[in-house]
């Protein structure tokens, strides 16, 4: 199967890919040899994924060429890449949830689809062969939706290998895993490197250090550095990645003893699929305190945030916001009580993407005296206010009339932050606030959150980045399968401890 029996070398020369107004990759050249692991690092938007999509034939480069074993290749579609033995595991898994593992793998295998009936037994044989060869355990008859994220990833790997991949591309493979699962994956990948070549994208530098032989750093689409991983410390790589020394803001205040702002008791909430996403969840948060909620995503975080903001029905239990019971109130009522919310999906929930920045800033306040009178909007007031907000929150946009959806992720988050913070909330629910943002924007947002804390606002910070949680929180709660595992003080917490709790092991 395939055009090349082995891939001794993959070489890119001067790859250029443009998107409207953006140079996504700027004359990128790199080489990966046989059995080599190359780590591709860079901030978000540096062009890593674009480059990989060019290799896979999902995009076609505007300039430059690609060589396998010295022979020029030109991929028109991912199928061409598969035929040459290159396979990719995407950041978002491409699996059909209500089909079995076997059926999912069969989807890509054209050899088994020649007859009307798919030859599942042949697929099963292939899967077993691959699993034993690489030590990748999968249950071929399980449905995808039954599997944990780590297991789904193994399915993706098996799927890719079943297609005959001899060259693997992994796009941020660890972003959804617990620390323990990450360790397992790294061990697995270093074993697999005996047989394969791997490019792996990451911005977690300890993983880069643990796994790769060579590292290649992209910044604004261009290669700024290539070298052997072992010669550099993570800190040096970080500095090269951002182009400056990285400072992180941290919460160093004493734990606070303010009034209880939020008190959640025995909260049960159903997920979209109908099972209990929150199962007797308990948590208390004081005013002027940041409580970090750590956990692997999909363990009830989204449902908690939505239930607290009236966006999801509460089955039983109570949420007290100061003295008011807010379970099952409407979003409007909860907003009017002084709740702020930075939602998980900033692009479609936090803003109305097709409306202007100006209109998005007043999303929650159209009926206030400040912005309207007898339902007629006060346009000049609104313009003045949004210009103020642009200065105060450093929203980088020429004017406030452009569609909010066309801004970068960091600027969208600033628009949301401007709206939520300037309404003077009494409490703020903040979900994955820096996901996908570059370090500069993340830093800005963290500073704003700490300033808000100083003003006496309680904050629930839901995140999967343990570093962020440990830097900012006064106390850290760990959620697993909809239950609060344990609440730790900042000084008690460590990555290892949190990792064990996140995996569902209740200690003591």
């Amino acid at each position: 199967m395939g055009k090349f029996t082995e891939i001794k070398e993959l070489r890119l020369e001067n790859i250029v890919k443009r998107f409207p107004g953006v140079l996504a990759t700027d004359h990128v050249s790199l080489t990966v040899g046989e059995h080599e692991i190359l780590a591709l690092v860079g901030e978000n938007g540096a062009g890593k994924t674009t480059l990989m999509n060019v290799i896979m034939g999902l995009y076609h480069q505007d300039e430059g060429s690609m060589f396998i074993n010295g022979e020029e290749v030109n991929f028109r579609s991912p199928n061409d890449a598969f035929d040459c033995g290159i396979g990719m595991v995407h950041q978002q898994y491409m699996l059909v949830p209500n089909m079995t593992v076997l059926e999912n793998i069969a989807l890509g295998m054209k050899d088994c689809q020649k007859n009307i009936k798919v030859d599942l037994e042949a697929v099963r044989a292939k899967v077993n062969e691959i699993s034993t060869k690489y030590g990748l355990k999968v249950d071929p008859d399980a449905y995808i939706w039954q599997l944990a994220v780590g297991e789904q990833q193994r399915v993706e790997l098996v799927k890719t290998l079943c297609l005959g991949a001899k060259f693997l591309i992994l796009d941020e493979p660890t972003s959804a895993l617990t620390p323990q699962e990450t360790d397992e994956l790294i061990a697995l990948l270093s074993r697999m490197a005996n047989e394969l070549s791997i490019i792996f994208i990451s911005h977690k530098l300890n993983e880069v250090k643990a796994l790769s032989q060579k590292v290649c750093i992209l910044r604004h689409g261009a290669v700024v550095f290539q070298g052997n991983t072992k010669d550099y410390t993570p800190k040096e790589i970080a500095a090269l990645m951002t182009g400056r020394d990285v400072e992180t803001s941290a919460n160093t205040e004493e734990p606070c003893n303010g009034k209880t702002a939020i008190s959640i008791k025995d909260l049960c909430v159903k997920s979209d699929r109908g099972f209990l996403a929150l199962d007797n969840f308990n948590l208390e948060i004081r005013e002027g305190e940041i409580v970090g909620l750590a956990g692997v995503s999909g363990n009830g975080q989204r449902e908690l945030a939505e239930a607290m903001n009236g966006l999801r029905k509460v089955e039983s239990g109570s949420i007290k916001f100061y003295d008011t019971e807010i379970a099952n109130l409407t979003p409007r009522q909860i907003i009017d009580l002084g709740m702020g919310y930075i939602p998980e999906e900033r692009n479609i929930e936090g803003i109305v993407p097709s409306m202007s920045i100006k209109e998005n800033i007043i999303l929650k306040d159209t009926e206030t005296e400040k912005f309207s009178k007898n339902h007629i909007l006060k346009n000049s007031e609104i313009e003045k206010y949004t210009d103020e907000m642009r200065e105060k929150f450093d929203i980088r946009s020429p004017h406030m009339h452009i569609a909010a959806g066309s801004l970068s992720g960091g600027n969208i988050q600033k628009v949301i932050l401007a709206r939520e913070i300037d309404r003077n909330p009494k409490f703020l629910v903040c979900v994955y606030p820096i996901r996908g943002l570059d370090m500069g924007a993340a830093e800005f947002i963290h500073k704003q959150l700490l300033a808000l804390r100083k003003r006496g606002v309680g904050i629930l910070l839901i995140s999967e980045e343990l570093e962020e949680i440990m830097n900012l929180s006064d106390r850290i709660a760990v959620i697993c399968k909809g239950q609060n595992q344990k609440v730790l003080l900042r000084d008690e917490a460590s990555t290892a401890k949190l990792g064990i709790l996140m995996a569902g092991v209740k200690d003591e």
Partner: protein, 360 residues
């Protein structure tokens, strides 16, 4: 750079018009017509004299009023395919009220007729809006089904309760409206009637509603991203229903105006498909109340040309509908091209690199 962008858009639109005309030519040739004279008739006849311009404007009135309503519903994220049925309900209501108001002064009778049509259409729009908001019934399904119901209800009305008592041949139609409920023509012998005032006032009102009030703001937010709107504390179901009521109300008024200004009596086929053409006009006008005006004018021209083609050429008038379809399809595709930033960017680079080469 901005100049470039404008040129690009103009070039794409011109290309689209040329393609549309070419496709049209093929159709005309296929039915054995003369391409040039057919196009000439379509383009020149409406502007031949004052009377013909009035004909175009008259056809524009119901199109515009319906399209304005569609702007509201579509901006709020609900597709109202039921304008046809809502228009029928408007005709029934205004016709009934008109006979009840016989003898009253025009200043009272006409507003009452139009108001009753707006209420009837609005109520008929409320049903799919309510079903969508509370039970998540697809509005495509409910509005289309309600169209069937309205059509049959209307036929029933003009056959029995509203049937002209002096009509002996059995043609289903109402008696002529009493004088107090007839919209006057501006100039004797031309067709343009007072309904156009309503259309223009409505355009201004809908514009203000959508873009200057907090209600319109909330409707647009709900339509653009219902999740974000819900997050922002907007009662999305409530605004869905309001938008459908406004949309239905507009369609109802269009029915009243057509009855009181053009036909003078309720007869079968009074809607002339305006309920569907109105949707296209709204989309053509980019769902903007002001842009709807030229869009409706353009469609008025196409509709009027049906009459002229029938009189002046051997080309069957239904051809115009075929042409209309082809033109719309092509222009909508072109809008997609214009709005695709990737295509534009690629063009821009080709364009500028070719300029550079020439300069060298």
């Amino acid at each position: 750079m901005n100049n470039y962008k404008l040129c690009y858009k103009v070039a794409v639109v011109l290309a689209a018009i040329i393609v549309a005309l070419l496709v049209g030519s093929i159709i005309i040739l296929a039915v054995g017509g003369n391409v040039l004279s057919t196009y000439w008739i379509i383009i020149s006849m409406p502007f031949k004299n004052f009377r013909s311009i009035c004909e175009v404007l008259t056809r524009m009135i119901p199109l515009m009023i319906i399209a304005l309503g569609i702007c509201v519903s579509s901006r709020c994220g609900i597709n109202n395919i039921g304008a046809e049925g809502q228009m029928y309900m408007g005709v029934v209501a205004s016709c009934t009220v008109a006979f009840m108001c016989a003898g009253m002064p025009r200043m009272i009778a006409i507003p009452l007729c139009i108001l009753s049509a707006a209420i009837a259409g609005g109520l008929y729009g409320f049903i799919p809006g309510f079903l969508k908001a509370k039970l998540e019934v697809s509005e495509l399904l409910s509005t289309v089904m309600l169209n069937y119901v309205a059509t049959q209800f209307y036929l029933f009305c003009i056959r029995i309760p509203l049937l002209d008592p002096n009509e002996k041949t059995g043609t289903p139609m109402s008696a002529r409206l009493p004088e107090s409920a007839v919209l006057h023509k501006f100039v004797r012998g031309t067709s343009l009637h007072e309904g156009i005032i309503l259309a223009i006032v409505l355009a201004a009102l809908i514009y203000i509603l959508l873009f200057k009030t907090s209600w319109g703001y909330k409707m647009r937010a709900a339509g653009a991203s219902s999740r974000a709107a819900r997050y922002g504390g907007i009662n999305v179901p409530k605004y869905l229903i309001i938008a459908m009521v406004i949309s239905g109300g507009c369609a109802g008024m269009a029915g009243a105006v057509e009855l009181m200004g053009v036909q003078g009596r309720a007869m079968s086929g009074i809607t002339s498909g305006y309920g569907f053409s109105g949707i296209v006009v709204a989309l053509f006008g980019a769902l903007h109340p002001i842009m709807v005006i030229p869009a409706a004018f353009f469609f008025g021209i196409l509709l009027y040309s049906q009459v002229n083609l029938q009189i002046l050429t051997s080309v069957p008038p239904n051809l115009v509908q075929t042409l209309q379809g082809a033109i719309i399809l092509i222009i909508v595709s072109v809008q997609m091209v214009i709005n695709n930033p990737y295509t534009e960017d690629r063009f821009r680079r080709r364009f500028f690199s070719s300029i550079k080469k020439e300069a060298k």
